[in-house]
């Protein structure tokens, strides 16, 4: 994890994480399989996040879940996970660990800083803790994960330099 900036009551760190997009019906067969592999029951409510010490699992649409592995050195585990899931012809697990970068944002001014880049309503009543969202930040597609102590933002790796510069700019200006 690399510190991007710590200023004006905002702290931003960046890192890459192992990540898998899982597509499926969300039926009991689907839930059981994931529960068996992860020891985590997938959330059924849209945009809800569940997590344990090793994973964050968010439901991002009616048939899509994003699974983030919190331990960095589980590459093989991720490959095996995808392989196992993909044995099921009615599911798709795609490893996108190389496709995205993450920004961990915390501090008192997190949301006012982020609202320089997005219209998104971060108020607790409209964006509850342990929920996720997909929206535009600095005009690029981002996933937002509102966790207990901080917010995680992921974007495609091709935008990482641009997005990092925008975040620094938003903190400084």
């Amino acid at each position: 994890m690399r510190e991007v900036i710590r200023s004006n009551e905002v702290e931003i760190k960046t890192f890459t994480a192992l990540q898998v997009i899982i597509r499926g019906s969300g039926d009991s067969k689907f839930n059981n399989l994931l529960n068996k592999k992860l020891n985590l029951l997938p959330p059924s409510d849209n945009l809800r996040i569940v997590s344990d010490d090793n994973h964050i699992l968010a439901k991002l649409s009616y048939d899509q879940w994003n699974l983030i592995f919190l331990n960095k050195d589980e590459n093989l585990k991720v490959q095996n996970f995808c392989h196992e899931i993909n044995k099921n012809s009615e599911m798709l697990a795609t490893n996108i660990s190389d496709a995205q970068v993450f920004f961990q944002i915390s501090g008192e001014n997190t949301y006012s800083m982020m609202n320089k880049l997005t219209h998104f309503d971060f108020r607790e009543k409209n964006f509850k803790t342990m929920t996720a969202a997909q929206t535009l930040m600095a005009r690029i597609d981002c996933n937002l994960y509102k966790l207990n102590t901080h917010i995680l933002v992921s974007c495609n790796r091709s935008f990482s330099d641009y997005f990092e510069d925008r975040l620094i700019d938003a903190v400084n200006f």
């Binding site: 012809s89 996108i96 660990s97 641009y162 200006f173």
Partner: protein
């Protein structure tokens, strides 16, 4: 100039002197002063020259509604059209007057005033018709453009502005009396609230006048201080000062601009302004009212000012513009001005009221009588006279007698209008009030509440009722407010839209729009010429089309029109107030989405290597792609591309193709889905093989292309064009979800997961074998259009035998985190074989030689696969696929459709260019029958001349025919129409 100071004003820091310049002359003001208040402190009245006639103009108001006092701020990159009544001074500020040459005192342009009888309404439309149409382009337009406009464009500079989004429950616009009352009633409720005030002080009327004596037993300033403190302490209300709401959009979306440098020079490296974009549930408009002026002869002279503005200068800015002003009114709004003056021991020189003595309120009458102020009832100011400033006025009294009064200042009040601009922007409806002679908010279209004078409620006694009634939707506690005021108990006004001129001549002028120099005569002329609809009249005369949008005058114009047409004002209607409420800069609109952040940039995992190796980049969508790799600074693009393409043909080249879209498709019904999405059939395709495929729109036109890798009947990987990646995935999702929801299939983008290297050329196999020694790259083991997965250095690669250059080649798909390392290994291994990196330009040249198309370049949304000669890619036996039905429509099967062909110049020295039209005849005499146009053209190093691809009518039947290509210099080049393939027609090199 201390004799003009009102030291009682708490808002001006008289101990903090600030030096500034106006038109090169040094002046001083005090902290808190605007340019206008500081200049008035020095008795300066002449501020600028008018738009059309270059008439001398002064300060007419004390706020955002100012039509005259627009200045250029030299010390801020020469920012033009800044309202002197808003802009605060700072040390070292340089200000210049506008629209004058050589000086404000002696302005050559004022000759326009002498010629003014020529410049009546519609002058431009009627005058610049002849004698020949070329006169407009060559003479009229350049001259008018040079003469038009206020101020000069600013010098080049880099403005810094930021955007800030808000999501709240309630926005209160205006921090005056009603805004403060509304906010204080909502303290510590469940609502998130923004209180927005344009001034740097909250309080509005409490600061600007002596209208209110007491609120709940407290002096107004004390009450305001306590209330503001409690609002500031609240957890749910945020105050934005110096912030002007400019726009009220659908749905309850407001735009406001915050000036971050009020009373200070904007820093070059910091944000100067913030554009607030606010989404809210409710909007409370408590943004007050605007005083109207009155039309009489020479009502534009410097020294004439709105009465309420005169009072605001005294109370808010601590400057007394004149110690002997005359007051001219048609309404009951001037009590507090007189009260304010009397408290400063200033006796107005006269009070002139168009109303009769009986109509004037008792309190006002008593005040005037007690203080022995000369009173003219049933009287009107007929004219004002003076040389560049007011010197005297002519008054017609109740008996019809004419009186001259010598004075340097005239305060006018033509009534008040609720400030309805934002309300009408929100699509709220207005209703004409015949008693108060103004349009008032009637029916809200959104969740909009208007309060106080913004709602047309001009009586302080009614405030408590109004607040309690309108705010009850928020379940607030009952508001108790007792106000003692200096105003008439009931607002009263007499109709007075225009005072007939004192002496009429061709040059006499009563202005109805000060900023655009529109006179009442212009209004009459427009009506007489048939422009009797208010929107037509507005455009014909330019009335209320200035940057002030006629804030102080548009209702007067409606009144005059209604009289002329003998209609009621509500029958005349009103023009539309459009956003923004007041001008805002482009810098504020752009925010940080400018300069280095103008467009998001995408970089491939190899980007840093490209930079290190001198790549020149081109923008492909948002991607930065290497265009070519010059070997030295002296190597031109042409030379580099010729070299790169020759090297690929002779040895090997490698392209960073990471930007190609990649999609993983999987599911029980994936095969059926792929057969439906693409024209090709994938049913008989072997696992482990790849196929070039076309995707059509429902109209049968080619939408995208790519290579499909079949892992199994349930699992595919598709590539797309770089620009089409997102659209293709969205299209797949849409059809999967809406048209074929019965199919079990899922798709994910893997564009960014994998970098792609396209390596090709006769030496490619040698290089690949060196980098990946464990893989057998022989034709037998690894035939053309097959792919294999391989473990390599702890990562999994997918290698596909395919080529976009016409040479034998491979596409290597590498997980992005490992891409740079493997790219460098290939470069190193390729050195001994002459491997060269090449960019997109060489890629285009090589593919065009081979006749491979680029979607979006050789196609334009009107080309079918048949037009491209790609019939073989259509699965004839498939029952259905996207666009199938359209391929049999009469239009798509007609023989004279444009078809893809090749073009060669007959004279090899001639250069073909993209976009050139192909003609059958050499003659360029119009109308020129055109066959089509060249879509791609390059200079081929292997052929030694240019060549092109083109789409032309019935092209395939014209192959072998001589034709002509038109050039940009009105000439033609003889060309031959040929097959669209120029290199290795038998594909011997491709499959070698």
């Amino acid at each position: 100039m201390t004799h003009l100071n009102n030291q009682n004003s708490p808002f001006i820091h008289f101990h903090q002197r600030i030096n500034f310049q106006f038109d090169g002359k040094k002046y001083h003001g005090y902290k808190g002063d605007t340019i206008a208040s500081a200049l008035l402190r020095h008795g300066i009245k002449l501020i600028g020259r008018s738009f059309k006639y270059h008439r001398p103009r002064g300060i007419y108001t004390c706020g955002i509604e100012e039509p005259n006092a627009l200045v250029q701020i030299i010390s801020e990159h020469s920012e033009p059209n800044v309202r002197a009544t808003i802009k605060k001074i700072y040390e070292g500020m340089e200000v210049e007057s506008q629209n004058r040459w050589p000086s404000i005192e002696f302005d050559i342009g004022s000759v326009n005033s002498i010629l003014s009888p020529l410049f009546s309404a519609g002058f431009y439309y009627k005058t610049f018709m002849g004698p020949h149409k070329s006169f407009w382009k060559k003479i009229y337009e350049p001259v008018i453009r040079k003469a038009a406009g206020l101020g000069k464009p600013p010098k080049e500079f880099k403005a810094i502005s930021s955007h800030l989004h808000h999501n709240v429950d309630i926005v209160i616009v205006g921090g005056g009396l009603n805004g403060l009352l509304a906010a204080s009633s909502l303290i510590d409720t469940q609502y998130d609230i923004l209180l927005i005030e344009g001034d740097n002080q909250l309080g509005g009327i409490l600061n600007n006048s002596s209208k209110i004596n007491e609120i709940n037993g407290q002096r107004p300033q004390e009450w305001a201080k306590e209330t503001i403190e409690s609002i500031k302490k609240s957890k749910n209300i945020k105050i934005l000062n110096n912030t002007l709401v400019t726009t009220y959009n659908y749905i309850n979306h407001l735009i406001a601009v915050e000036d971050k440098y009020v009373g200070a020079k904007p820093a070059e490296d910091k944000v100067n302004s913030t554009l607030h974009k606010i989404r809210t549930e409710h909007v409370i408009l408590s943004n007050g009212h605007i005083e109207r002026f009155l039309s009489f002869q020479n009502n534009d002279l410097p020294g004439i000012m709105l009465g309420a503005s005169f009072e605001k200068f005294i109370c808010r800015y601590g400057v007394i513009p004149s110690k002997e002003p005359v007051i001219f009114s048609n309404n009951s709004n001037s009590n507090s001005l007189i009260q304010t003056l009397l408290e400063l021991h200033i006796k107005p020189k006269a009070y002139i009221d168009s109303r009769s003595g009986e109509q004037i309120e008792g309190e006002l009458f008593e005040l005037i009588r007690k203080n022995d102020i000369p009173l003219y009832t049933n009287s009107q100011v007929k004219a004002a006279y003076g040389n560049k400033k007011l010197e005297k006025i002519v008054v017609q009294d109740s008996s019809g007698g004419i009186n001259e009064i010598t004075t340097d200042f005239l305060c006018v009040s033509g009534g008040i209008n609720p400030d309805v601009h934002l309300f009408t922007q929100s699509k709220g409806l207005l209703e004409w009030d015949d008693k108060d002679l103004t349009y008032k908010p009637s029916k809200s279209f959104q969740n909009t509440i208007t309060l106080g004078s913004a709602s047309g409620q001009f009586n302080f006694e009614e405030i408590e009722n109004e607040l309690n009634q309108k705010l009850k939707i928020f379940n607030v506690n009952k508001i108790i407010i007792k106000i003692k005021s200096n105003t008439a108990s009931r607002y009263q006004i007499q109709k007075l839209w225009e005072v007939p001129a004192h002496k009429t001549s061709m040059w006499s002028k009563s202005f109805i729009d000060l900023q655009n120099d529109v006179t009442t005569k212009d209004i009459r002329q427009a009506i007489s010429e048939g422009f009797d609809r208010i929107e037509h009249l507005k455009r014909f005369t330019t009335n209320s089309m200035g940057t002030d949008q006629g804030k102080i005058s548009s209702i007067n114009a409606l009144g005059i029109v209604s009289d002329l047409l003998d209609k009621k004002v509500n029958e005349v209607g009103t023009t539309i107030y459009r956003p923004p409420y007041a001008p805002l800069s482009f810098a504020a609109i752009a925010g940080r989405n400018s300069y280095e952040f103008y467009d998001p940039e995408r970089k491939s995992p190899i980007h840093q290597w490209h930079i290190k190796n001198g790549a020149v980049f081109e923008d492909v969508g948002q991607w930065k792609r290497p265009w070519y790799f010059p070997l030295s600074k002296s190597e031109t693009m042409y030379d580099a591309v010729q070299r790169e393409s020759k090297t690929v043909r002779e040895s090997a080249g490698i392209l960073d193709g990471s930007t190609l879209g990649k999609i993983e498709i999987k599911g029980k019904d994936a095969l059926q889905f792929m057969n439906l999405i693409y024209t090709n059939s994938f049913t008989k395709m072997n696992a482990g093989s790849a196929r070039y495929a076309l995707m059509l729109g429902e109209d049968g036109m080619v939408k995208d292309d790519g290579i499909i890798c079949k892992i199994s009947d349930e699992h595919f990987i598709a590539t797309t064009t770089t620009g089409g990646a997102a659209n293709v995935l969205a299209c797949m999702e849409e059809y999967a979800q809406t048209e074929w929801p019965n199919l079990n299939v899922y798709m994910n983008s893997i564009t960014e997961q994998f970098a792609t290297f396209n390596i090709s050329g006769p030496k490619t196999r040698d290089i690949m074998s060196k980098v990946f020694p464990e893989i057998d790259f022989s034709n037998q083991a690894f035939p053309f259009m097959t792919f294999q997965f391989h473990e390599f250095q702890n990562t999994q690669l997918r290698i596909m035998r395919a080529s976009f250059t016409g040479e034998m080649g491979y596409e290597i798909y590498v997980p992005s985190n490992s891409a740079l390392k493997i790219w460098e290994q290939i470069q190193e291994a390729g050195k001994e074989f002459g491997l060269t990196p090449y960019g997109t330009e060489t890629m285009h040249l090589l593919r065009a030689e081979k006749g491979y198309i680029i979607i979006g370049q050789d196609t334009d949304g009107s080309i079918t696969p048949i037009d491209l000669g790609l019939n073989w890619m259509i699965g004839k036996t498939k029952t259905d696929f996207l666009g199938k039905r359209s391929l049999t429509r009469s239009d798509t099967v007609r023989p004279d459709r444009k078809q893809l062909v090749g073009i060669l110049p007959l004279n090899k020295e001639d250069s073909l260019e993209e976009g050139q039209h192909i003609l059958l005849n050499e003659s360029l005499q119009t109308p020129v029958p055109m066959l089509g146009h060249i879509t791609s053209s390059y200079h081929s190093p292997i052929m030694g001349h240019t060549f092109g691809l083109a789409v032309i009518k019935d092209g395939r039947s014209l192959i072998g025919t001589k034709a002509f290509a038109s050039t940009s210099n009105q000439k033609t080049i003889p060309v031959e129409i040929v097959k669209p393939i120029f290199y290795d027609e038998k594909n011997e090199r491709l499959v070698s």
